[in-house]
Symmetry: C2
Subunit: 110 residues, 2 copies
DNA sequence: CGCTTATATAACTATATAGTCATGAACACC
DNA sequence: GGTGTTCATGACTATATAGTTATATAAGCG
């Protein structure tokens, strides 16, 4: 987006990536993975989500490239693929923080 | 996301921000705004979208803070609020580029 | 080979929302 | 006031998907 305009197909791909992060449950899973690599059942414990639901979310996150996985026996271990997702969330949180600050300022005189 | 875990309410807010960018049409609108501030009808011409549809997307983008607006007579002028959205899309595009490169490499020997 | 455990997936329901059409609201101009 | 222009919004349909339940797949173990 910094230079030439993106084609329709490219916009679709970018939108799909954003969509994969547009769910509180998936953000929660990514956050849980910051504690370190985990199996699906480990994530069930960390998050409290149902196994089937969690598994589907993990497929989405994997397809979007946010997590990597390795099979070990009957288990699948998931981990964060890189730091990009943290950078993205930092930008969002920075914005939310500034919004909150300016709202606070707006209501400063009660 | 860089430090303390986010609360459920905070994750909801972050997810909503991502969701506002998870539509090819809205990305297209943001891209059109890179040419400069425009009225709704100007954006109808730039994008080819219907007026009602465009107006609704602009409400979403404004609520998420990606665009700012000013009323002038009967028109509303919209413009990009800041550079964050460009930074976000750059990160996404960088990922997509690297994915494409590694796929290309994978199929190098035909 | 059964039996258990761990994960993925199919079928289903409920909810959200993109796009369209019709209409409302606000302003400009005669 | 009447008319036209610009934008926002309500009602509607069609589609996507989150969550759940039940089942399939696959590995380890007796």
């Amino acid at each position: 987006m910094s230079d030439r305009p993106l084609s329709g197909a490219q916009l679709d791909l970018v939108a799909t990536r954003f969509k994969s992060l547009a769910e509180p449950s998936r953000l929660r899973i990514l956050q849980a993975l910051r504690q370190g690599e985990a199996t699906v059942s480990g994530l069930v414990e960390r998050t409290g989500f149902g196994q089937a639901n969690l598994s589907k979310h993990l497929q989405v996150l994997h397809a979007a490239g946010w997590v990597e996985r390795r099979k070990e026996g009957v288990s699948t271990w998931y981990r964060l693929a890189d730091e990009d997702v943290l950078r993205l969330c930092d930008i969002m949180c920075g914005r939310l923080g500034r919004e909150a600050a300016s709202r606070r300022k707006l209501f400063a005189g009660r």
